[in-house]
Each structure stands twice: as structure tokens, then as C-alpha cells.
Subunit: 245 residues, 4 copies
């Protein structure tokens, strides 16, 4: 996850409502053609099949939320059938939970890759904010899954045993960084690491999550490289001013 100097365009937002082709066509066609068409062939590789389903499901749930997502749409985006989804994941809700877990897991993994201890506190904090801003912008699916989960009041996250274990490092890294800064005399004392984390998250998250309504209301385009760079710089600056001694 390299940290680029310029904000490159994000993943293209998935098209709104991909019309699922009616069954009629194929059924009617078969009636006349009288032979089974070339199906994508079975995988026979459970790992891969599951991964494929998860990828498709991630996209669909991120695009439409839990209630808006369609099992059919997920199946159609896969080389397997709807039956496999139930075979491997049991239900729509369990699939959603797995998608959510995977998204969080990947995020934490990424965070762990940041080596903030290598740099002086101020540079490390700048890098952290910068990275978070970029990461959120590049991973809009993740952001949207978190939005969805909050619409659901955290119902499924609460059910997940897995997640509640791999999240400590994130806050620990920030705390360590902050305390190092205080010790060095570059950061002022008395701040709460969790509060700091909340601020960084809020600023970076909102930039993705609320982009549509914000842009519409203020009739602007916040997704241009220039706008993103300006916003990112502003956020980094704000956080640094906030903690600086």
C-alpha cells in the first residue's frame, strides 16, 4: 500500500442498478435451440469459489446495503450458482457478516503494515493521517459497508466474535505515537489517543461517506485530484495543529 503524493482517481463507483436479465430469454431460447449452452464450467475449487462469492458479495453489499442487495445479483456476478452461496454461507445475513468481517480484517492488516515507529512523531502522525485519507478514498466499498452496518446499528458486528480481537493494534499504535510525541515535547499532553483516532477517522471517513450529498448541496465536485489534495492537506494540518505543543 504505497503512499502516493497525488490523489489518484478512486475505484469507479459501481453502476446503480444493474438490471438482471429476465429469465425468459434463455428459457425461451432453449426451447428452440434444444441444447445446453456452454456454461462457465464448475470450479471444483472450494477456496476459489468461496473467494469469488465473497468478492461479488462485497461489491453488492457495498453498493446497495444489506436490504438493497440481491442474492441473485451476487450469484450472477459469480461463476457459480445461487445454491453455492447457501452451501457455503448458509444465509444472506451470514454472508453479509462474513463480508463485513473480511472487510475489517483486511483493513486492520493494512494498518498493521504502517511502520510509524520508524519516524519522528510529527512526521509519523502526518503520514498516518495522510495514509488514512488515501486508504479510505481508495476503499470505498469498505466505507460503504461500515455505513451500512451503522444503519443497522452495529447488529452484525456485535455478533462477530472474530472482529473483536484484531482491533487493538490500531489504537495502540496511535497511543504509542502520541506518547512518543509528548515525550519528545512536540505534542502537548493531556489528549486522549482514542479521541485523536476518532477525529482522524471522522475527517477521512466523512470525505468518502458523505461525498454525494455534500457535493450535491454545494454544487461542487470533491472528487477531483485537486479537491482531494486540498482536503487532505487541510485535514493533516488540522490534526497536527491539534496535537502540537
Amino acid at each position: 500500500m504505497p503512499l502516493r503524493d497525488d490523489t489518484s482517481p478512486p475505484q469507479p463507483p459501481a453502476p446503480m442498478r444493474p438490471a438482471r436479465p429476465t429469465r425468459v430469454a434463455s428459457a425461451a431460447a432453449r426451447a428452440t435451440l434444444r441444447e445446453e449452452p456452454a456454461r462457465p464450467a464448475r470450479t471444483n475449487d472450494p477456496e476459489r469459489t468461496m473467494a469469488e462469492i465473497l468478492a461479488a458479495a462485497t461489491q453488492e453489499f457495498a453498493a446497495k446495503g444489506l436490504d438493497g442487495a440481491r442474492i441473485d445479483a451476487i450469484a450472477d456476478a459469480t461463476r457459480t450458482s445461487k445454491r453455492m452461496i447457501y452451501y457455503y454461507f448458509g444465509s444472506k445475513e451470514k454472508l453479509y457478516r462474513t463480508v463485513l468481517e473480511e472487510a475489517y480484517r483486511r483493513m486492520r492488516e493494512t494498518e498493521a503494515g504502517l511502520h510509524l515507529a520508524d519516524q519522528p512523531p510529527e512526521a509519523a502522525l502526518a503520514r498516518l493521517v495522510d495514509f488514512t485519507f488515501e486508504h479510505h478514498w481508495q476503499n470505498q466499498d469498505y466505507i460503504r459497508l461500515v455505513m451500512t452496518e451503522n444503519i443497522l446499528r452495529g447488529e452484525y458486528l456485535a455478533q462477530s466474535r472474530i472482529i473483536q480481537k484484531l482491533n487493538v493494534p490500531a489504537i495502540a499504535a496511535i497511543r504509542e505515537l502520541y506518547e512518543r510525541g509528548v515525550a519528545d515535547g512536540v505534542f502537548r499532553a493531556g489528549l486522549d489517543a482514542l479521541d485523536l483516532h476518532a477525529s482522524i477517522s471522522a475527517l477521512c471517513f466523512f470525505n468518502v461517506s458523505n461525498q454525494h450529498t455534500f457535493d450535491l448541496i454545494f454544487k461542487r465536485d470533491g472528487s477531483t485530484p485537486r479537491a482531494l489534495a486540498a482536503r487532505r492537506a487541510s485535514i493533516v494540518d488540522m490534526i497536527l495543529r491539534h496535537v502540537r505543543a
Copy 2:
């Protein structure tokens, strides 16, 4: 719109299925009609009927999002029938759009009630942030509607002609306030009012929107008066440090 010194407990998150309110007392008029069965009581007051539907719909859409909401649930929370929803609003999506428009309209109206020009810039800005934080926390339905609309990529907000007119004042007030501060020498120059607004919004919005996942992951309760007060103070401080000369 008094600004309290302490953060009072927020509106209780609406119960999933708000219990239908017990029959209103004004049923005394019924006394003339002997032995009428327990029918829902015909309002014949369109204004009220529409308002009642809108209120129920606001709750339901805020609670579940557009796709999760159920027209039946909305009707059940009303003294009218499902049929009337279609009589007045035409479709689920049009009802949702109206709910969204009303929510934005109320929010803007509230903002207009703030008289920031009466105070010195720094106090006015503090008041603005403070107010925004409080207002968002007190109006979680509004926040959730905006979240839902962003999940829908602003599809319905984009359709609304009404909304795109009453939102200029918000940013104008901030700009005026900021420029006054610069002129007074208390704010540093070179900042963008819209960027400032984005920061305030992000910090206050996230505090409501992401509370569930945030609390779950960090195993804390951010909704206690103490936690809210601390967070609010931190945000006010951060914004002030950001703009101070």
C-alpha cells in the same frame, strides 16, 4: 434553541417498531355515534393525515433505510391506512424523497435560527460548532436519513428541486463569520469556508453516524453525557486551533 452547557441525553434511538400511540383523548366526539366498531377514526383532515404519514415515514426510513423500510410499518404507525400513503405520496420512493426534503428543510430552518453575527468571531465559531454537535446528536433521524441517501449515492437528493435552494445560507453564514474573524485578526487568512464547514460537519456527523461500530470496536460507550461532553469540547478546540491566527 437554547444552547445547553451540558450535553443532555439524546433522543432514545427510535424503537424498531414504534408502538402505535394509544388512542388520543379527543375521541369524545365519538359520543354521538352509538356503537361504532373500533375503526381507525376517519380524520378528514388532509393536512394532519399527511403530517402523520410523514412523521411515521421519517422514523421508518431513518430506522431502516429506503430498502429496509416497510410501507406496512409506516401505515401501522399511522391512524390511516396504507392506501392513504399512495393517495398522498404516490409511491414509496416519492414518499422517501419527501421525507428527505422535509428533513433537510427543517435542518436549514434550524441553522437559520442561529444568530452568529451578534457575537465576536471566536465565540460565534465556538457556538456554531457546539450547536452543530448538539443538533446532530439530538436529531439522529436526520443523520440516518443522510447516511441512507449517501448509500444511494444521492440519487433522490439529486432529483429534488426544492432542496437545492435553501442551503446556500448555511455556508454563507460560515464564510461571513470566518471573514469577520480574519478582519479582526483573530483568524488566520487563507482558509476556505467550505473546507471549514466540511470539517465541522465531518466531526459532528461521524460522532452520530459511526457510533455503533466505533463503540463496538473500542468497547466503550460514547453516548454517556461525560463522553459526549469530552468529545464535543475536543472538537470545538480542534476547530478553533485550526482557524486561530
Copy 3:
């Protein structure tokens, strides 16, 4: 009811599905405008109101059939409200029956206006066929009502007392005409007047009733003046050859 030499274009087929404007607009508008708009004013003329309703209903039933017709659409095409339809006609079905009766009555009246006895048999028969062809083409609403009624297997016509009385003249006129021709030696004997009437009706009716499928299948346009004139001439010729001695 002049008999033209050339086939003029028929009444324009009513547009397929006139979208009834949703109520929302007006209801929402009222909420802001706060005063009743200028309504078309009440007629206070029952005769005229009924006639207006019947006219609108004739169009709607002819355009869509009994089941396809919408009471709302009829009301909207009138200066009165839906309530008046029920006030004057009791139900959709009774309204339909009345429309049907009126259509038949007008048709018979028209037929009675033909003075076939004034001319020699062959010319009179030619005129009759010619007239029927024209009349059917010019009164497509009537044709479509008869089609609809046949789809309903004559259910409503069977209920109508009124109709079963004014229809004898039609066949009587043909019979008289035919017998005059036989007496004159220009028509061959042994034919049945009702059978003759059936043939004339069939040829002229089909030209209107089946125009859409016929034109589509044979990729032609049977509604041009040229095509109509040719078809009319062919039918007249066929009938005359059929009866000529």
C-alpha cells in the same frame, strides 16, 4: 351524415395510456400555496353533466375495453368528479352498459336516416354497403365497443332491455331492398337477408376491427385514403356480384 366520395381520415385513435398525474403534485402544492385553485366550476346542469360523463366514458371504454378502462380516467376527462359518475350511473358496469346502449342507439338512428327505398335496388345496395364501410371507419369507437362486448360474450348487451327493440329496422330495410331487387329481376332469388347483412357487416367491421394485426402482419398501411377506397370498392363489388341475378 353525408356520404362522401372520398374516404377522409378517421378519428384519431386515442392515445394509449394517458398517464394520470399523481396526486402528490397538487397536494404538495396546496400545502405551500394555501388556497384552493380555480376549479372548473360546477355545472348545475344534470343533463349536460351526464352527457359529458357519457362522452368521456365512451372514449375510455372504446380505448381500453371494460377491464382496461379506469373510472379515474373518465372522471379526469370530465369537468365533474368521480362521485358524480356514481351518482348518475351507480357503477362502472352500469356506466358501461349505458355507453353501449347509447352507441347502439346512435348507430340505429343513423341507419334509419338512409333512404334506400328512393333508389333502384342495385344503386341502393351499393349505397348501403358504401355507407356502412364509411360509417364503420368513421366511428371506430362504436366498433371497439362492439368488440369489447363480444370479448365479454355479449354479457351486458343481454342485460339491456332497451337495445333489443330498436334493431329490427336495420334488417327490415335490407330485406325490403333485396326483395325489391328480386322482383325487379336484378337480384337472384333464394338469398337470406340476414345472411346478406352478416356479409356486409363482416367485411366492413373487420376492416376497422382487425386493422392493427392485419397491417402489422402484412407490413402495410390500410388506413391511407387510397387503400381505403380500394378496399371499399372491392367490398361493394363483392356484395353486388353476390346478389346479382
Copy 4:
């Protein structure tokens, strides 16, 4: 497709709600599964399921038209559920279109079975008219579907790609037949084959399509073998006189 000398009684007009056929005898296969509840018996034979739906839909649409038809009624006349109709046909309108296409296809197939080239022109023409008369009387469902489609102004036929290809033979056969007759000197020259086809169709179609109103108005029963034979003879005669040299 034998050509009978006498007009046999037609198919009984389908009962409004065709009673669901008593469970088929082949339920013997059930013997292995002990104590299964009375479920509709899962076919798992798509070909058959589709065919069954189409058959029921043909009846229903022919009986009531597009708007009058009920999806529930169609489902009830089938061993499958309403859900399967949507599984295979997507929507009521698509089902209707398919029914229409199938009806036309069967009709054209039947026509193709007539070997008019084997006989001398006059006999062949007589046979053609005779056959058409019989065929229309025997296939009232087809007639009624065409009536319905004309009430809809050919909206669905226009959408069908399939149909517009298999209908040329019909008119080609007549043209060939007519030209043979002209060459033989038994038919007069100068007629248009399409016009001739229109006349035959009109006379035979009307005999079915308008039977209800016609019989009611003239207080007769045109469906007796005697009446049908007389009418058929009259039509054959009329067409032959029309073309004879």
C-alpha cells in the same frame, strides 16, 4: 386436418374458471414417499411446466382479454404456482405476448398443412375458404386473442420479432392459387391477393368474433350445425363469385 362435409359442433366456449383437473393418475410414483402431504406435485419438468402455464394462460387471456385476465386464475389452472409464471415468463405482459406468439405460430403451421397446389384453382379456393371458416370456428381462443390484441391496437404483436417472419406463406399460397386460376382462365384478372385474403378472413373471423352481439340483436342462434353450414356455404359462394371470370 380432414375437411368435413358438415359443420360439426365447435369447442364448447371455455368455462369462465376452468375447474382444476382432478389429480392425474400417474401419482403412483408417489408410492415410495410415505405420508407426503397433499402438495401440488413437483414436476421438475420445465418443458411441461411451461407448456402447462401457456395452455392455462391461453385460455384465460382468450376468455378475458389482457386486462381482464388474472395471474392467479392462470396459476390455479396449473399444477404449479404463480411464482413459476414469473420464473419462466417474467411478467403478465410477457406471458401474454408469448401466448399471442404461440397462437399465431400454431395458426400458420396449420395453414401450411393445406396443400392447395394439388387441386384445380376453383376447388382449391373453395377448400381454402371452407377450411378457414372451420378452423376459425374450431379455434375460438385464437380469434379472441386476436380480438384482444386489436383492442390493444396491436401493441404486443408489434413488439414480437418472431411473428413477423412466419406469416408470409399464408398470403403467398393465396397469390399462387389466384394466379393459377387466372392463367387457367377460370378467375378474372386484376384482383389483389391480399384483398382477397382480407375478404376471406373478414367473413370467417366475424362469424366467430361477433357471434354474441349478432345473435342477441337478431334473436337467433348462429351456432347450430344448420346455421353454420348455411353461413359457410354462403361465404364460399360469395368468394367464388367474386373471383370467377
